[in-house]
Subunit: 433 residues, 4 copies
Amino acid sequence: MSYSTEMLKEEKVFKDPVHRYIHVRDRVIWDLIGTKEFQRLRRIKQLGTTYLTFHGAEHSRFNHSLGVYEIVRRIIDDVFNGRKEWNSDQRLLSLCAALLHDLGHGPFSHSFEKVFDLDHEQFTQDIILGDTEVNQILTKVSKDFPKKVAEIIGKTSNEKLVVSLISSQIDADRMDYLLRDAYFTGVSYGNFDMERILRVMRPREDQAVIKKSGMHAVEDYIMSRYQMYWQVYFHPVTRSAEVILTKILHRAKHLHEQFYSFKHHPAHFYSLFKDEMTLEDYLKLDEAIILYYFQMWQEEDDEILKDLCRRFMNRNLFKYVEFDPAKEYKKLAELSILFQKAGIDPDYYLVVDSSSDLPYDFYRPGEEEERLPIHLLMKNNEIRELSRESEIVDSISGKRRTDHKLYFPKDILKNDQTKSKIKKQIRQLLDIN
Amino acid sequence: MSYSTEMLKEEKVFKDPVHRYIHVRDRVIWDLIGTKEFQRLRRIKQLGTTYLTFHGAEHSRFNHSLGVYEIVRRIIDDVFNGRKEWNSDQRLLSLCAALLHDLGHGPFSHSFEKVFDLDHEQFTQDIILGDTEVNQILTKVSKDFPKKVAEIIGKTSNEKLVVSLISSQIDADRMDYLLRDAYFTGVSYGNFDMERILRVMRPREDQAVIKKSGMHAVEDYIMSRYQMYWQVYFHPVTRSAEVILTKILHRAKHLHEQFYSFKHHPAHFYSLFKDEMTLEDYLKLDEAIILYYFQMWQEEDDEILKDLCRRFMNRNLFKYVEFDPAKEYKKLAELSILFQKAGIDPDYYLVVDSSSDLPYDFYRPGEEEERLPIHLLMKNNEIRELSRESEIVDSISGKRRTDHKLYFPKDILKNDQTKSKIKKQIRQLLDIN
Amino acid sequence: MSYSTEMLKEEKVFKDPVHRYIHVRDRVIWDLIGTKEFQRLRRIKQLGTTYLTFHGAEHSRFNHSLGVYEIVRRIIDDVFNGRKEWNSDQRLLSLCAALLHDLGHGPFSHSFEKVFDLDHEQFTQDIILGDTEVNQILTKVSKDFPKKVAEIIGKTSNEKLVVSLISSQIDADRMDYLLRDAYFTGVSYGNFDMERILRVMRPREDQAVIKKSGMHAVEDYIMSRYQMYWQVYFHPVTRSAEVILTKILHRAKHLHEQFYSFKHHPAHFYSLFKDEMTLEDYLKLDEAIILYYFQMWQEEDDEILKDLCRRFMNRNLFKYVEFDPAKEYKKLAELSILFQKAGIDPDYYLVVDSSSDLPYDFYRPGEEEERLPIHLLMKNNEIRELSRESEIVDSISGKRRTDHKLYFPKDILKNDQTKSKIKKQIRQLLDIN
Amino acid sequence: MSYSTEMLKEEKVFKDPVHRYIHVRDRVIWDLIGTKEFQRLRRIKQLGTTYLTFHGAEHSRFNHSLGVYEIVRRIIDDVFNGRKEWNSDQRLLSLCAALLHDLGHGPFSHSFEKVFDLDHEQFTQDIILGDTEVNQILTKVSKDFPKKVAEIIGKTSNEKLVVSLISSQIDADRMDYLLRDAYFTGVSYGNFDMERILRVMRPREDQAVIKKSGMHAVEDYIMSRYQMYWQVYFHPVTRSAEVILTKILHRAKHLHEQFYSFKHHPAHFYSLFKDEMTLEDYLKLDEAIILYYFQMWQEEDDEILKDLCRRFMNRNLFKYVEFDPAKEYKKLAELSILFQKAGIDPDYYLVVDSSSDLPYDFYRPGEEEERLPIHLLMKNNEIRELSRESEIVDSISGKRRTDHKLYFPKDILKNDQTKSKIKKQIRQLLDIN
């Protein structure tokens, strides 16, 4: 028996609150879960700063990764298995890609990627292809297996059907995170009938399609996705925490570049600051380490770094007002000047943050962010793009919604002895009392 | 309007997956939640190392504390309010005690308390009475209010009814943690009909009692508790992680005492090692910091510290066999000698761990761990202890169940070149292959 | 203490799987539930023939009526109570109207109303105002109370706020039936966050409005409604059963008019056939009686009546194909002739059935079926119609969706000795094999 | 392809609120579901009169039968399949027996069986072996197949493993009804982790056993069962309805024997009254028919029949007091005399009803009601009876709990002009006010 087909003597199960159980029979999968690179995902929260808004959202990417694996396993074992359009040789490849698709995520990825120009997808590739425990295991399957897995995750593989299971507008990744994030936040909007969707999925040459009879379940899924984006993922309080987190990273980098003498040196950040991050350094980063620094930096001499870290650790976040960049850019400039006059550095304390989402889109080749549309399998075996069949989806298809907010520390804008006149002006401009 | 009765202009709600919403109208409660001491609970997991067994169990004590508050709030506002036996002056006291009851918990409390002889209940008292943001807010209510709250939590208060809401065999604390831990682990055993229990709770002079008509719901609750203890809280894999954690702390202390030169100095542990922990030091401890050290110590020169930290971080835990101390003490001694011969320090790598639980107990005055029994309110207004009415409860009442296991690192007991003969003897004694 | 304010000594509760508990403290409500007219609703299924498609949908209108009552009770007691825009004198009126709003429903209302030109809303009025136990109880409140209740249900009352609680595009009736029908069918689409919607409802002079912050919950509710209509209420198999039911009633009436000699006389139907239904007769009708007759009529001599009853009782339903009346009317005519040639009466065995729904509509005064739109309460206290704020709702607003199907008994169109050529032509026209 | 192995072209699914979906691929199963004998189960409520206490409990035996089938299907296809101890030839036999195990249930079985000395198990046998659609289908599998199925259900088969799936102390029947009845009543006590139990079931020669690691799930199941019996199945209000139902049947029989001239003749009851019930007659009985008669008999001249029918239809039930037959038999005699004096026939209006349950029992060969105990599969492959391993189960094992209540119509015992003195005596004896 080769390693790639080796089964565990007895199936292992993980109790999972979303899928009830995660089932593992393949030796390869079991070994991958045991690697230190995969275990590291336990120390990366799935939803970054969201736990400061929805206190239940403390779940990790480890959880989610197991969930995506389980969904793909069920699609393959329970639905695709035995159908002529499905090549069972792709089973292990699909499972590995599902399990490992988020492997490169770092702590608070969203903010870190923005500030330090990182790319978690590149790190996922690097971990799979680099000198890691994960790579050793994949290589035992076959010499080119790591590359194959990386190509699925990187969407450059020719195995388009497998790619579509993990990266499309209705993939295992999205299905798991919507259900999981809904479960842990307690927000009911994310629920949809995944069982139904799985049952009506069918393999086709270059993608998984959905039988027409399951269209309503797909509509419901798209609405769930839309709701979760605006209710949870873009929640302004979460974004406020992210704004502060981003500003802490900016400040630390700035201080480092200015040869500021840290009481607690940002040793783990050096390579980030210098844009020389190695894979080894990256794998050491997790949210425990970041929180450790923020904890320490509450005692720094630099007022801004200290203040921002205290705000983050003790959840004393920025407030916000709606902001329309097209109309209010002048007001923003005015505010910026007033902040400076009041001795509040607007680079750190006056921040515009934008959220934007496209609930569903049909295929627009050549556009920046190509998104694989959802295809329905009609009774006559024809394949049709979803928005041509569903009025509901058609009515929201391609409509991007964008939202801008202006963040600031309301607490230090209150009336007190110093600068009370300027602060009053600021409050009036922001229309806050 | 005094601070103690000040209500928020608009009720605040926290979305909670267990209770749907946590409702806050009292200014005092809102302010307490905003303190840094309370926010720190976000960085302490409710179930310590359990997430290594049940991956969903990543929820924090912050979550649980809000939950206990909400249950007490509902008991008071929805059930007790307006009944003559209930003194509405105790409302705020009850809510504050509920919210703050776990405030003194540190990281991985169970292990830390054992190794360093700490007492989280004492720290809760210290935080409430010491120089903290929490103390400032409570003092604003009235000068002696912090003391009153501390006495409720410490069970030394004369307000026995209030004490019973938070510390009895059917209190808000237990009800929240059973439901919450069941929710996050995904284990269904912890479910019981809390709504029903709340509805039939009645205030009496020195305790909350349960109307007889709700007895079956209480039986179900006791069974849930029993199941959660054996299925989740005492799960041998969780205990294995705890064994390792404990041994890491022991080793670090030992090395420190031996003037071992740490690559990464255990600065946050100094006062622990010297038994001179101050409140200020204690409040800085959280699980991020502990994990930070464990991460760092994976690179220490000391083989034992390094190995144990790697095991903990990468979930490479000890295995176990059943162990009966009364019958097998000789075998243990033998094993200990063999471990030494094999070059595996038995102080760190051969560990007996015991779990013990009493599912329910009637009142046994004078015994070490006095437990307030559950009382039923009969139709004729008489009060009777639960086990006298419930056959099911009677049949398990007072029956302690204890379980011992012997933990060891199976992976390094495998056959290899070195010491293969001794290792074989060990495997035979442990009856593992 | 007057009857209208009399409270039960101890609150009564009904265990309800949807709302957990239904709470009753008002004597009037308790007494109304005990009337024989209200108990009769136990023998009328909430979803008519739907149980033949979704086997769980066996729940009665009794269930639903309690649920609507409970929702209105919670809106009033937990949300409106104490707000200046709410007149607490309308509490009992609201509760009674909620409880009794469906009182006039008969067995399989949809079909009966169509065939016999009945109107369940008129019967609701008649029961409330006629010589019934319900009327006696309401009259005990005050002489004009029955009329007031009837006017709320009939939407002719000036108490527009109360009317809106029971009859609007987001009323207690719809909220209960969506949740309840989703629960009993097991279809997850009907779920939405009712708790959230209740919390953000506010009383205004002529309607209940929804705070802007709850808009997303309302969007989700509208999507749920849309999905339930197409997934459950208009399910073609359910419609097939309804088609047969309707045809049984037509046939029985026809036979009666033709002086057919029934083995089992349709005594309970006489007044229906003659269009002389009295309230007393109507109240005797329930689904047990209808099923009794259908059971009996399986042994009649008339082939059509016998066959249709057997089909209904044993769930041997008609099959269907999509049908476009605009384009396919000629085909229908052709089929009709072929059916006649084949000896299958097309009046009973070839039926076009149409479903049509408008997921949401803004206000269109003067149109046939005026629907009260949903209004949002903005932060500045302004009131705005939902579709002006919600892009999702705007995109589906006012868009009616209609669906036509052609039903026929596929089993007797199979190839057999007789008329095999004609049947083949029919099968070809219908495009079935 | 033979009929016994014929699979449907496309799997059929039933949406089920308890198991999510019921999956059918076998042609035989699909055909059995379509028979009129099986469809008849839609008109028999699973829990008889329980809907008068728990209004959600309106679900039918049709529901439950599909559920038992689905559980057995999952045990076989997901757990037993491929294990050497499982003979896959028994698959269809097991599925058919599961589906049909309750086929012989009549309307309100409990009461009917008691009054008319019927046996639903015998009718199940008769339907399977008699001249029915079910028999035709089973015979198509093989000539002796109906007999085999009947023997499984009748527990006389040598296929003990198959028998144990459907009739043991932890069979598919009990698992489905506990979960289903909990779901529809809304009572949470009936929940247990069936998924877990299925996963740890193993086939052995003469029974299905449970791996030791699943013992706690089994303990929880036994507690659920215990709770459901006392909370739901033996609920005194349900029993009150049953008492009345029983008395209606007694009265009707009595009147018939006394040549009472019914306005509405009990045609469907004749063979019951004469103890000459044929299978054909029996299959016509359903709850619609019974309710039809009760409806009609509300207008009979006989005061007792009329009154009892009105009570049942309008849920005007008897009240009850606790009753201890051993101590209070004299009081019962006294009451009987007083009832007669008051002109209230004690045969119909003063009824002792007893409930009794044994939550679990080990094997007691030779005892009247032999119950197959639950066996655990230990790690060493030994098999041990559950109560020897589980302290909780041991503590309740073999302990029968019995409960007696005395039912009477409280409403007509109130003080009024007639017989006021006697009624007062009755009220005093009953200790009611």
